[in-house]
């Protein structure tokens, strides 16, 4: 099972995990990662996620297929939201199912590392202090060198 979704809606992490394992007796391990919007000590009011429709889904699928090639997965889910996301809300989910835990953990980390660097999404921060010009260029989140380093592990 491979589930890829790019959506503006809040998703239900429990439902996604359940879809991977529910009723199966060959799955021994499910790893679920959920990334949430933080409020950065109260200074961030929202994240705005821009994406490249069409390519976003295609890129997630390419990353998923590469993970399936590298590890013996029994299922995986990748969900990425776009639009306005409030602190405390989920942004992204990755879930992997396998017979054993090593493959499920490795594949989940791989999916997240590549999603960060290769999937066409861009974050802009809405902060209280910049309310006068919430769409200023300074509000775009800069890519982190640590994300490239995380990808280079694989």
């Amino acid at each position: 099972m491979r589930r890829i979704a790019v959506t503006a809606d809040v998703f239900d992490a429990a439902h996604e995990t359940q879809a991977l394992q529910g009723g199966r007796t060959d799955v021994g391990a499910v790893v679920t990662f959920v990334g949430y919007c933080r409020d950065e000590a109260g200074t961030l009011t929202a994240l705005e996620l821009e994406h490249f429709p069409g390519m976003a889904e295609a890129e997630l699928e390419r990353i998923a297929i590469e993970a399936e090639r590298r590890w013996p997965l029994l299922g995986l889910s990748m969900i990425h939201r776009h639009g306005l996301i409030r602190p405390g809300e989920p942004i992204v989910l990755v879930a992997t199912a396998s017979r054993h835990r090593a493959a499920a953990f490795a594949a989940a980390e791989f999916l997240m590392d590549f999603m960060k660097t290769d999937a066409p999404f861009w974050k802009r921060e809405h902060r209280d202090g910049s309310a006068a010009d919430p769409r200023s260029a300074e509000a775009w989140v800069e890519a982190k060198p640590t994300d490239d380093a995380a990808k280079a592990r694989w």
Binding site: G35, H51, V92, M112, M115, P120, R124, W140, E142, A143
Partner: protein, 83 residues
């Protein structure tokens, strides 16, 4: 050829998409960036640090030395920050 711009590349250029007809000597992604940069201050600003700009050809990541012949859609955007 259709061009798409995202995030601050889109904001600096001032539009999200347009049709491009680059001259025949523009053969690669990098050369297309160079040609676009000469079209006005907004393009020059968007591409001022050309090496940081990412490109996709027909929705697949492409390096700056990738040929653009036969490509229907090119997209330019900053390094990605999703996840």
């Amino acid at each position: 050829m259709k061009a798409l711009y995202f995030a601050w590349v889109r904001e600096r250029i001032g539009k999200g998409e347009e049709q491009l007809s680059p001259p025949s000597h523009v053969g690669t992604v990098g050369e297309l960036i160079g040609w676009l940069s000469g079209r006005g201050d907004n393009y020059a600003y968007a591409f001022e640090n050309a090496s940081t700009i990412r490109a996709a050809l027909d929705r697949t990541h492409a390096r700056h030395d990738a040929p653009i012949a036969g490509v229907r859609e090119v997209a330019f955007f900053p390094p990605m920050t999703g996840g």
